[in-house]
Symmetry: C2
Amino acid sequence: MERLKALASEAETVSSAASVLGWDQETNLPPDGGPWRAKQLSWLSGRHHEMVTSEAWKSAIEEALANCDEEDSRASRNLTEMRRQFERKQRLPTELVERASSLSSRAKQVWSDARKHDDFLRFAPLLEELVGIAREKAELWGYADEPYDALLETYERGATTAKVASIFEGMGSELREISQAAVDRFAANPVELPAGPYPEEAQARFNREVAEALGFDFSMGRIDTTTHPFCTTLGPADVRLTTRYDLDDFTSSLFGVMHEAGHGLYEQGLRAEDYGTPAGDAVSLGIHESQSRLWENHIGRSRAFWDRWFPVACKHFPQLEAFGLDAFMGFVQRSEKSFIRVEADEATYDLHILLRFDLERRLVQGDLQVKDVPAAWNERFEAGFGITPPNDREGCLQDIHWAMGGLGYFPTYSLGNLNAAQLFEAARAVPDIATGIDRSDYAPLLAWLREKVHCHGGTLDPDEIIRDATGNEPSPEAHLRHLRKRYVG
Amino acid sequence: MERLKALASEAETVSSAASVLGWDQETNLPPDGGPWRAKQLSWLSGRHHEMVTSEAWKSAIEEALANCDEEDSRASRNLTEMRRQFERKQRLPTELVERASSLSSRAKQVWSDARKHDDFLRFAPLLEELVGIAREKAELWGYADEPYDALLETYERGATTAKVASIFEGMGSELREISQAAVDRFAANPVELPAGPYPEEAQARFNREVAEALGFDFSMGRIDTTTHPFCTTLGPADVRLTTRYDLDDFTSSLFGVMHEAGHGLYEQGLRAEDYGTPAGDAVSLGIHESQSRLWENHIGRSRAFWDRWFPVACKHFPQLEAFGLDAFMGFVQRSEKSFIRVEADEATYDLHILLRFDLERRLVQGDLQVKDVPAAWNERFEAGFGITPPNDREGCLQDIHWAMGGLGYFPTYSLGNLNAAQLFEAARAVPDIATGIDRSDYAPLLAWLREKVHCHGGTLDPDEIIRDATGNEPSPEAHLRHLRKRYVG
C-alpha cells in the first residue's frame, strides 16, 4: 500500500499541476497565451495517463489488494475502485487520449466562434468528430445496453442510460406542470430588483462573508473572477471557486458563489490523507452537484436564509432597504421561461437537462444526425417549454460541454438536483439541523454532510451514499415536493 | 536541429509549467497550500533536470552542431550556448538539485520567521547549509580563481569575481561622494507627496496606461498583485508583471510597474520562434536588469516623462494638482539614506549592492563565518552609509536571496544599473530616439532596444551586447555621469 500511495501521490501531483494551469487559463491567461497553454496541458495529461496505466501502477494495486484487510471495507473499496479506474483508463490507448485532447482544444475554439456568429454549420464537422470519438471510447470501455452507458459511467459511476431515462421520464410531466404553474405565478406578480449598480467590490465582500458563514475555509481556498464560473481543486488544501459579477443583479454572483462553495465544501470535506486515491476524491458529478444545489437552492433561496442575510445585504447595497424582504423573496424565487440553461431558475432548470439528455443519447446511438441537431433542439424545446429559440446561439450552440468532449455529462446536473433535495429533506428531519438552519447556523448541516457524504469520497457508490444518508432509494420525489412547495404551494 | 528543437520545446513546456505554479504561489496560493505546491514544483523541476541532462539531449546538441552552417553565427552561437548550459547542468547530480530545492523551500520559511522575529540565530544554521551547498556546486562547476566565480557565472555569463570587484571598487568612492551629495541636497529641500489615499483602482488604471505607452503588449501579458513584485514568463506569449500598492504613495507601484514592464518588454522582445533555446531566452540578469532600470529610472524619473504624464496623474489623483510638477519632481528625484535595499533610491542603491557582494564573496570563500554576518553587515553599512541598522531585520535579514540559494545574484543589480546608463546614453545619441523621448514617444527607443539587445537572446555574451550597442567596453562611467547630473549637478 505504501508503494501504491507513493505512485498515486505522484500521479496526483501531475494532474493537480494541470489543474493549476487549467484554473489559470480560465481566470488569467492573456489572449494570445492559448496555444502554449494547450501544449503544457497536453504534456501533463500525457504523463498522467502514462502513470495511471503503467504496469507499475497495476502491480502496486494488485499487491495492495492481495495484502488488504478485508474487514477494512474503506480500504478495500478504495482499492477495488482504483482497479476499476485503472482498467477503464488502460482500455484507451495514449494515442486516443491525446487525439481527444487535441480535438477538444480545437473544438472549443471553433464552437466559441460558431456561437458568436450563430453559425451551427461551422461547428457541425467538429461535433461529428466529437461524437465519433465518444463512440470509439464507448466501444473500448464496453457497455451493457447502448454506447451512451459507457459515457455516462465516466461522470456517474453505476448509472445506466435506462435508469436515468426512466427517472427523467417518470418526472417529466409533473415537472412541466410545476414549471408552468411557477411561471404563471410569477407572471401574475412580477417583481424587479431595484436598479443597480451593485458595485463589484461590495458584491465580492458580501459573497465572501456568506461563503465563510457556510463553512468554506479560506485558509485553503479562494474566490476569483472568470467568464464561466467553476470550482477546482489544485491540492489537498487549495480549493478555488470562481464567479462573475453582474452590476445590475448582485444575486447572480451570490448564488453562483453559494453554488461553487457547495462544491468547495465537498472538496474541503474529503480526507486529506486519502488525497490522490478514490477515497479522497469526489465520487461522481451527480453527488458533487447535489452539494452545490443544496447550498445554492435549498439554503440560499430560502426565506430562513434571507431573514438573517437580507439586513446584511442592505448594508452592502442600500437600495435594497426600501425594496423590503417580501418583495426580495419574490425576486429570489421567481420563475420564468428562458432559452439559456445557465440562467434558468430552479423550477424550469431540469427541463433544459431532459432535452439535452434526450438529444445526446440519440446522437451517440446514431438515431440523430449532427446536421439535424438544430431542428431537433428547437422542436424538443417547443415541446418542453412552449417557446422556440430564436437562433442556435440561444439554442443548440449555447453550451460548451459537447465541444469539451463531455457527452454524458448533462444528466448529472439533474441527478444533482434530485440528490440535493433528498439529502436536504433527510438532514432537515434531524432536529438540531433544522433548528440550526432556521437560525442560519449551518455548522450542524455541514457536519451531517461531512459524515454522510464528504468523508466517504469514492468508497461508496453514489446510490449507496444516498441510500445510507436518507434511508431511501434515490428518487425524484423529494425534488418534486420541494419545487411544488416553493413554487406552486 | 529539428530533433533538438522538439526536445527543447518539451523541456520548456515543463519549466514554463513550473513557472505558472510559481507565479500562482506568489500571487494567489491560499495560506495552507504551500506544502503541496512545493511537491508539484519539485516534481516538475526533477523532470526538467532529467530532460536537459539526458543523453538524448546531449546527442541532439552534438548532432546539430555537426550539421550547423558555420556561417550562421546566430545558429552556431545558440548551439554552443546550449552545450555550455548542458555541461554545466550535467555536472550537478539530480540528488544535489533536489537537495538544494528542498533546502531552499525550508530556508525561505525559516528566513521569513527569523526576519519577523528579528532573530538571526534562527536562520544561521540554514545559512550555513546554504553556503555549503553553494560551495559544493561551485566545486562541481569549477572556477578559475575562487568559488564565487562559479556562482556569479550562473546569473551573469562571462563575469568573473575579480572583474566585478574591480568595477565596484573603482566606482565605490565616487558613488559614496555622489550619494552623500544627493542626500544632502534633498535634506536641504525636503518635499513630501500630498496625503493619500491614492486608491488602488486608480493606481492600477494609471499603471496600465503607462505600461501600454511604454509598449508592453497586454494581449500577451498582464499585471497582478503580490507581496514581492517580479516579472515572469509563462509561455512565448504570456509575460506576467506583478506589483503592490501603497495607498499613501502611488509612485511606489508606478515605478514598480515601469521596472517590471522593462523586464517584460525584454521578454516580449525575444524571438518566439527560438523560445525554449538560448537564442530565445534572456542572456543574463545584468542585461535583464538593464532593461528594467532603463525604463524605471532613465525614463520614469525624468522630467520629460512627467511633462507628459503629470497632467494624467492629476486626473487620477486630484490632490496632485495643487502640488505642482516642480515639487513633484523634487519628490521623484529625492535621495535619502535608508536601511532597506528595495526602498533605496537611485543615488544610494548601489551602495547596498557593494556591501552584499563583499559579504557573500567572503562567506563563500570562507573568510567570513555565518555567525559573524550581522556584525560584519553593520560594520560595512556604517562604513558605506555612516549609519548603523537598528536590528538584523533591517540589516542582514532583509533580503530573501540567500534563503533562495541565490548567492552570486546581488551584483547583477548593479551591473544592470551600469548597463542601463550605458545603453540609454548610446540610444539617446540617436536623434530620432532623443526626439521621441522628449515627446514621450517611446517607440523609437523600444525599436532600438529590440534590435540591439532583445532580439539577440543568449547568442551574444552580455559584454558583447553592451560593446556592440554602445561602441564601448562596459564601464561605470555613464552611470556615474547620470547620477551626478541628476542628483548633484
